[in-house]
């Protein structure tokens, strides 16, 4: 029994790492621009397809393909910022919400057009054999995902705290006008934020490829969870996304075991609604006046 609980906990934490990974970019983008990227899941999907084809066509290992996928999605993020986000930055809320909703529909269906609705999986030699330790089973790709998430969080943290660009980005988050008055070209940091945010979800895509199939609507499945994670952790809080991801992972793992696997989403959507009622600013979010 105790072993069971430990196993569920490990599964939950590792799963949480995956959720955190998908959510970090979302929270970063919100923090800088107060825009919810409804197309976030589609960028995950693109990251996964890119990884898939890199392996299929050139035999590049998914973990190695990170080096290609991350920069490629960074560029895609910058292009998105230019074409989709910039025109609605000062527009009404409806426009801000529905421009990324529209982008989500567009990307999903372009994927359907190019790659059909087939499920595509990447079976790597390390996809199956699990690491066994004292009767506990740990899946290798999940462990990798967790480690990569951790590295990503640390790297982002160092970038934001230590570098000039990171500090300027934080200043933009705190107060756009003051940042502008200090000579920061905030437009440039919007590009940086969306680029980084999308690159993060691209990394997530590459890391997920050895364990999950990719198809045009893969993103929808993950992105709903990511929204829950981000609201739970507190919109705009990087650490919040990480902790929120872990909590949702553990909740999912236990509810799947105790109730029914189908109901796991219901459980954390209920958690989501409870948070909205009790603490709308999330665990680590700032209270707003």
């Amino acid at each position: 029994m105790l072993l069971n609980i430990f196993q569920l906990l490990i599964n939950g934490v590792l799963l949480g790492g995956i959720y955190a990974m998908v959510s970090i970019g979302l929270t970063l983008i919100w923090g800088v621009m107060q825009i919810v990227n409804f197309a976030h899941g589609e960028f995950l999907m693109i990251g996964m397809y890119l990884t898939f084809w890199l392996f299929q066509l050139y035999g590049i290992d998914p973990y190695l393909s990170l080096l290609v996928v991350a920069p490629a999605l960074f560029v895609l993020g910058v292009i998105t910022q230019r074409l989709v986000i910039n025109p609605v930055l000062n527009a009404q809320e409806t426009s801000q919400i529905f421009s990324t909703v529209g982008l989500s529909i567009l990307l999903q269906n372009l994927a359907l057009f190019f790659w059909k609705a087939d499920y595509r999986t990447l079976r790597m030699p390390y996809s199956l054999p699990n690491i066994k330790f004292q009767g506990l089973i740990v899946s290798f790709p999940r462990l990798m995902a967790f480690i990569i998430t951790l590295l990503m969080v640390i790297a982002l943290f160092l970038f934001l705290k230590k570098t000039f660009w990171g500090k300027a980005l934080r200043a933009t988050v705190e107060n756009k006008r003051s940042a502008q008055l200090m000579g920061i070209n905030i437009k440039r940091f919007y590009y940086l934020a969306l680029g980084l945010g999308i690159a993060c979800v691209g990394i997530a895509g590459a890391t997920l490829m050895p364990m999950y199939p990719v198809f045009p609507t893969t993103g929808t499945y993950f992105v709903l969870t990511a929204f829950v994670v981000v609201v739970l952790g507190g919109m705009g809080s990087m650490a919040g996304a990480f902790i929120g991801g872990l909590i949702i992972g553990v909740v999912e793992s236990f509810s799947g075991f105790l109730l029914a696997p189908v109901l796991k989403e219901v459980t954390y959507f209920l958690v989501f609604i409870m948070i909205l009622v009790l603490r709308p600013s999330g665990l680590l979010g700032k209270e707003r006046q």
Binding site: I35, V36, F38, V84, P87, V88, A91, Q92, E93, T94, S95, Q96, I97, F98, S99, V101, G102, L103, S104, I105, L106, L107, Q108, N109, L110, A111, L112, F113, F114, A117, P216, T220, L224, F227, V228, V231, M235, A260, V262, L263, E265, V266, F269, L270, F272, I273, L276, V277, P280
Partner: protein
């Protein structure tokens, strides 16, 4: 509405043109024969009606729901399950489903209405998704992913018809009902108030609008109507399954139809449906053979382009091009314009000079409020007497606005109490409840309803005491005259200058018929001439028996106006007394100008 008024309205070009179009649309449902076209017509009417229902919440109340599929699915499943299991006519099932959805709507409103903008949209997506999963999970009832098939037994009671024209006609009637309801809401008090709360919820609360109630009100109606659409769709396709009933794409579609046509307008959703629904079918027929995804990709692209470059929808083009042309059509005169009932000018009450015998109108006892480590207001007690003008001054950051927020219900004090006219108002929340007791306020940083005209801004405050639009409009005109904004009556509030916005802010507060007005720097940013004018306005308001509590930095004004002045520094009252007294108070000069100044003048 009297017959005279009715005939007068019908005589107007915009009214008779819309009526003719509606009748033609009704006739079309009977004359279109070709099955493909008939099917498209049914869907156009269906989406127009369902999106109009969405538009009540999404457009009029400004709550961008992406989870209306939850109501739709509830309606579809309710009527179908009752019909299949108990033989209940889907017509009755429609009513049952409608009420179920309305109750569900109330349930989800409590958590969701606390959220703004994208977060509301996210929460509603999650709720519809929960419903989809639950409908998959309870397989025994819903038949899971396989769905429920409604056996084809045509008949009126069964809501099943051999002839598609019957569905077209029902959809048409449904559209008429939804449009009728939207029209009634738009033209009534609720329409104005919804528009105000969509603009700025905080300012709406300050004008006495119970924002939560109005949002809930439209949510209930919208949920019921969307559920009815669900029943209709289930009957039309004789089939329900979780993926169509609770699909996020359906929710997005409803929103999209309204957005493309024009949100928060009556014809927006109809217009949107007439464009999108056929386009959707043509694209699917044309590109569908080519590839499944492409037609929807075009859809997504269209959505991005519309919200970016035409955020007000296609109705904007019509407003510029077609509507003025329609107005040029001849006006049919059956009867003269009925004159609105004349309203008497507000009675001027006696101007009470404050004296010891006058009862306090408001008394604050030991109010304290801190934010984190900073104590903004510390143990403040004071009284406002009936009919007086009480000034509140103090250096920046002294806690003046916080004190206003505590009295007007925008902040809860940590301790202490506020008693107004003998009743405790300390913990009244949300703020409109304070307005209902007879206190209203203005904001230091003005918050006009930018998308409303000047007159309508004032009317929002006036709806506190009357439901009749014409009556409130009349009163608002009088108030515009008092605050000197009559010539800008029909301007959009966003076009006013800073000084005029301050007047508007005052006018809106005045319209609530409050006994006590809290005015937060209504003279800030005015030039000397305007200040003199404003002083006269405030004096005349006070002479009408309204008590004023004013924060002001313009010393000339505060000295001329106030009967008494309270001085606040670092959250504490450091002096209280008549203008002369305060002007020569050592502590006050020190607080404003610093000790050095005092030393210099002493020398």
């Amino acid at each position: 509405m009297g017959w005279r008024k009715f005939f007068y309205r019908v005589g107007q070009p915009s009214v008779y043109v819309s009526l003719v179009l509606l009748v033609l649309l009704g006739a079309a449902t009977q004359f279109v024969q070709q099955p493909f076209c008939l099917n498209i017509l049914v869907l156009i009417l269906f989406y127009a009606a369902a999106s109009s229902a969405w538009n009540l919440v999404g457009g009029y109340a400004g709550q961008l729901s992406l989870g209306h599929a939850a109501f739709f699915g509830i309606g579809a499943y309710c009527s179908t399950l009752f019909y299949l299991n108990f033989g209940l006519s889907p017509w009755l099932g429609l009513v049952v489903g409608g009420f179920a959805a309305a109750v569900f709507g109330v349930g989800i409103s409590y958590p969701c209405f606390r959220l703004r903008g994208p977060f509301f949209a996210l929460a509603t997506i999650a709720i519809a998704e929960v419903m989809r999963i639950l409908s998959l999970y309870f397989e025994k009832v819903t038949n899971g992913a396989v769905g429920l098939l409604i056996p084809f037994k045509p008949g009126i009671v069964n809501f099943l018809f051999r002839d598609k024209a019957a569905y077209a006609f029902i959809a048409y009637l449904f559209l008429l009902i939804v449009v009728g309801i939207s029209f009634m809401i738009e033209r009534s008090r609720s329409g104005y108030l919804l528009c105000a709360l969509r603009n700025d919820e905080i300012a709406a609360e300050a004008a006495g609008v119970n924002t939560a109630r109005f949002k809930l009100f439209v949510m209930i109606i919208s949920a019921f109507l969307t559920a009815a659409a669900g029943t209709f769709y289930a009957q039309y396709s004789s089939f329900v399954d979780p993926d169509t009933a609770f699909s996020i794409h359906f929710s997005i579609n409803l929103a999209m139809v309204s957005i493309i046509g024009g949100m928060g307008t009556i014809i927006g959703p109809i217009l949107g449906s007439f464009i999108l629904t056929p386009l959707d079918h043509i694209l699917r027929g044309w590109l569908g053979g080519f590839s499944a995804g492409l037609s929807f990709a075009v859809y997504g692209l269209a959505l991005i382009l519309v919200v970016t470059y035409l955020p007000d929808g296609i109705i904007k083009w019509l407003r510029q091009g077609l509507f003025p042309l329609i107005e040029k059509l001849p006006r049919v005169r059956w009867s003269e314009k009925p004159s609105a009932a004349q309203l008497q000018l507000a009675s001027s009450g006696p101007f009470l000079y404050p004296g010891r015998e006058v009862l306090p109108l408001l008394s604050a006892r030991n109010l304290s409020k801190s934010f984190g480590g900073l104590t903004a207001v510390r143990n403040v007690s004071f009284e406002i007497k009936q009919g007086e003008i009480l000034g509140l001054i103090g250096p920046n950051g002294a806690g003046k606005t916080t004190l206003f927020n505590l009295i007007s219900g925008f902040l809860k004090p940590d301790s202490g109490s506020v008693v107004f006219q003998g009743g405790e108002i300390t913990h009244l929340h949300p703020p409109h409840r304070v307005v209902l007791t007879g206190i209203s306020r203005t904001f230091q940083i003005v918050r006009p309803f930018n998308n409303l005209r000047v007159i309508e801004n004032v009317m929002i405050g006036g709806f506190k005491s009357s439901r009749k639009v014409a009556e409130v409009e009349e009163k608002a005109d009088q108030i515009l005259a008092i605050v000197g904004l009559s010539r800008y009556r029909n301007y959009m509030a966003s076009n006013l200058s800073v000084g005029d916005r301050k007047r508007l802010e005052l006018g809106r507060a005045l319209a609530t018929d409050s006994k006590l007005l809290l005015l937060d720097e209504v003279m800030g940013g005015l030039n000397p001439h305007e200040v003199t004018e404003m002083i006269q306005v405030l004096k005349s308001i006070a002479q009408n028996g309204v008590t004023l509590f004013i924060i002001e930095h313009v010393m000339k004004a505060i000295m001329m106006l106030s009967h008494r002045i309270v001085v606040l520094q670092n959250g504490e009252i450091i002096a209280e007394g008549g203008p002369q007294e305060i002007g020569s108070n050592r502590k006050v000069i020190e607080a404003y100008l610093g000790e050095e100044y005092l030393n210099v003048t002493a020398r």
